[in-house]
């Protein structure tokens, strides 16, 4: 840098920079408040008594703090006809689905992405472009025939439509993993080939271990998708004892009576919590994964 540039740099430092920093902090704080308040309000309501929950003007800190709401939400007895809402069952069902979908997504997509990234074959790039193109197909287009397909297989009412498909790859994850696999030096594969490894051994022993970050991103996003899925369970699950958390939460909404908002918020908090906790433990992966999709896209 020339001295005159340095001089101008100096002008930017000092008072001007300080003021900019303060302004920035102000905006960030304001934005934070706007983004946080619904969740804070959620927690606040979940700890109130029923009558206090509806009170206007609102109080942020409940007096008294009713931790018992969480217990009550878990064992909700509003439905006197068939007993409590089986929160635990919904959680169990959701966890089982999460295990099956994550395993399927990781295994199948790794295999497919490997072929696109590390193997050479005729028509590979065209096939890859086609794969990416399929991301544009909105689900409602294929929803009906897929539903009819499952119905003819007799799978409606079981969990199968919600996880079997994940064992056959998905465009988004193929894309993600393929981008990542390509960043692993090809020399390593060459070296292993010289050592006499089969392609599958290279895949298993060389590429996969190095791809753990990307694989964990796939696992994370698949888990999130399953935890949050609503339309799938809505159309494929029939017996209420098979419902997932997202679907079952609706049971708190009483059509004729007043919805007990404090209990409902407590239940909502319990459904949201695992996702947020997961995020805190896996922040880096989340952000890396999103960055990769956006940048190389």
């Amino acid at each position: 840098m020339t001295t005159s540039a340095q001089g101008r740099q100096k002008k930017y430092s000092g008072a001007g920079r300080q003021r900019n920093a303060w302004l920035l902090h102000l905006f960030l704080l304001l934005a934070s408040v706007l983004f946080l308040f619904p969740l804070v309000w959620l927690i606040s309501t979940s700890l109130k008594q029923v009558n206090q929950a509806m009170q206007m003007p609102p109080t942020w800190i409940p007096k008294p703090i009713v931790w018992h709401n969480y217990y009550k939400a878990f064992h909700y007895h509003e439905n006197r006809v068939t007993g409590e809402i089986p929160f635990l069952e919904y959680a169990r069902n959701t966890v089982i689905l999460a295990i099956l979908t994550v395993a399927g997504a990781v295994c199948s997509n790794a295999l497919v992405a490997y072929a696109f990234a590390r193997l050479r074959w005729k028509g590979r790039d065209v096939a890859f472009a086609l794969t990416i193109a399929t991301m544009m197909v909105p689900f409602p287009v294929t929803m009906v025939p897929i539903y009819a397909l499952y119905k003819n297989l007799g799978w409606i009412g079981t969990f199968r439509p919600l996880w079997v498909g994940f064992w056959f790859g998905g465009a988004f994850n193929i894309f993600l993993l393929r981008q990542f696999f390509r960043t692993i030096p090809f020399e390593l594969s060459e070296a292993a080939k010289i050592d006499g490894c089969s392609e599958f051994e290279i895949f298993r022993l060389v590429v996969l271990p190095l791809a753990k970050p990307a694989l964990s991103v796939v696992a994370l996003f698949t888990f999130l998708g399953t935890w949050n899925d609503f339309l799938g369970p809505l159309i494929y699950l029939v017996d209420p004892k098979t419902f997932t958390l997202g679907l079952g939460l609706q049971a708190f909404q009483n059509q004729h009576g007043g919805t007990p908002w404090n209990l409902m918020m407590a239940a909502t908090a319990m459904v949201i919590a695992p996702v947020i906790i997961l995020f805190f433990f896996a922040q880096k992966q989340f952000i890396q994964g999103i960055a990769v999709t956006g940048l190389k896209g």
Binding site: E78, N79, R80, V81, T82, N93, I96, L97, I99, L100, A103, Y147, K151, G154, I156, G157, T158, F159, R160, W163, I235, Y236, V238, D239, P240, K241, T242, Q250, A251, Q253, N254, Q255, H256, G257, G258
Partner: protein, 449 residues
């Protein structure tokens, strides 16, 4: 190092366990003993208790069949989904007005043969309640809980306005006049209202029927949305908007509380008169005891008729919840055995007393009325017998037709369209929908499917 070696097989084991569990959970176990049938119902709270009592008594009386009652929200959607998915419940509690749609889509089984073998005929019922389930010469549903409507009014509000609480309106014109006398304002805004067609607004599609109009010509199978009586009715609705102002009414209404709470418009004495159903007593009892004790300050009377149409007196909207056997049910015979119990005098009175409604049967025990907590229950039981009773048209497009009529009502009452404009639009649109619908039905029938 050892941990890592364990890692992968352990994970694989977890996945296999999950797959195994996922197969187990939805499975329906065939236990030895009584046949288990599933019954999906929409009711919760005390209404749910009532049906539970019926189910429990049926289960305890015999050991061939055991009914598993399940309370389901969004029941119609879920049942239709289950039918299309191929594993529906054996009995479902759905909505009377939509029977034609269920039948056209073959979502429910016809019950004629079952009724014959159990000797259930039209004579066992107040005719309108049987007819709701009778479509295209087949019985597709039987009533569970009946409903009828009447004008509910608040005697105390009458007194506050200096009116005789026993002089209730018998004609529409009297209704309008009384409404004007009762309305009060505070700071230029409506504080209390005498009557508003939009409150509660559950029969907004049917105001034409109050004026003698019909929505459907049964003989020709044609839509009659813009018949002169219907237009007259919606013009009458419009007079309220013009009198009070669309914005005023909107603001007033937005201040109403939840329906089932003490802040309900009628229960909190914000609206003096409204068209409501037999269940209203339950809400009064629970949320506004001051209307009952120490003195009975509310009353239910037949809804007024236009002064020039005395032939329309004692009109009521009859409706009902129904029991159906969805197509593809695993145990239809056992399902109907249970249904027949609900239709028996003992079962039906247990259900209707529990829900504090009247009975749809033609034979009712005297103790039913004498023990019933609703002081006006006899009125709700007699009104459906009158020749002016109205039930929704039996057509497979009723959900769409109803939606159109309600939308038309909203546009008229918000002052956006005149009655004629709104109803002409409905007439054209629903006629078109109906023609297409009939054409598709015909095509399906001719294809032999």
């Amino acid at each position: 190092m050892d941990f890592r070696k364990l890692g992968l097989p352990a994970l694989a084991l977890v996945v296999v366990w999950a797959a195994y569990k996922s197969e187990q959970i939805p499975r329906i176990e065939q236990k030895p003993g009584p046949v288990h049938i599933t019954y999906w119902e929409k009711w919760t709270e005390f209404e749910g208790d009532a049906i539970k009592a019926v189910v429990d008594r049926y289960n305890s009386r015999q050991n061939r069949i055991h009914v598993d009652l399940l309370s389901v929200s969004d029941i119609e959607k879920k049942t239709l989904l289950a039918v299309s998915g191929g594993n529906p419940p054996d009995v479902a509690g759905l909505y009377g007005p939509n029977v034609a749609q269920y039948a056209d889509d073959s979502a429910v089984m016809p019950l004629d043969d079952f009724c014959k073998s159990y000797h259930i005929t039209r004579d066992d019922y107040i005719p309108v309640y049987f007819d709701i389930g009778f479509y295209n010469n087949h019985i597709y549903s039987l009533p569970s809980a009946p409903a009828s409507t009447a004008l509910h009014y608040n005697k105390q509000m009458f007194r506050d306005a200096g009116l005789d609480p026993e002089k209730y309106p018998t004609t529409i014109e009297e209704l309008d006049a009384l409404a004007d006398k009762i309305v009060t304002r505070k700071n230029g805004h409506i504080d209390r209202s005498g009557f508003m067609p939009a409150e509660p607004g559950w029969w907004n599609w049917g105001w034409g029927c109050v004026f003698g109009g019909k929505l459907w010509d049964v003989k020709t199978g044609k839509v009659t949305a813009n018949s002169p009586e219907n237009v007259r009715a919606y013009n009458w609705v419009r007079t309220y908007t013009d009198k009070y102002g669309a914005g005023e009414l909107s603001t007033f209404r937005s201040g109403f509380g939840n329906f089932s709470s003490p802040q309900n418009a009628f229960l909190s004495s914000k609206v003096a008169m409204e068209l409501q159903g037999v269940w209203m007593y339950n809400f009064i009892d629970q949320y506004a005891p001051s209307l009952e004790k120490p003195v009975l300050n509310w009353a239910a009377v037949p809804f007024p008729h236009p002064a020039d149409r005395p032939d329309l007196a004692n009109m009521t909207f009859a409706d009902e919840d129904v029991l159906v056997i969805p197509r593809g049910a695993r145990h239809p015979k056992e399902a109907f055995d249970f249904i027949s119990y609900v239709e028996s005098q003992e079962g039906m009175e247990l259900l209707c007393m529990g829900q504090r409604k009247h009975s749809p049967l033609s034979h009712v025990s005297d103790t039913f009325y004498s023990k019933h907590p609703n002081p006006y229950i006899k009125l709700f039981a007699d009104l459906p017998k009158s020749p002016t009773v109205v039930s929704p048209p039996k057509t497979g497009i009723w959900p769409e037709y109803q939606a159109e009529m309600v939308a038309a009502f909203e546009q008229v009452s918000l002052g956006k369209k005149t009655a004629k404009e709104a109803l002409d639009y409905v007439q054209n649109r629903v006629t078109m929908i109906n023609d297409d619908y009939q054409a598709q039905l015909k095509a399906r029938r001719e294809a032999g499917k």
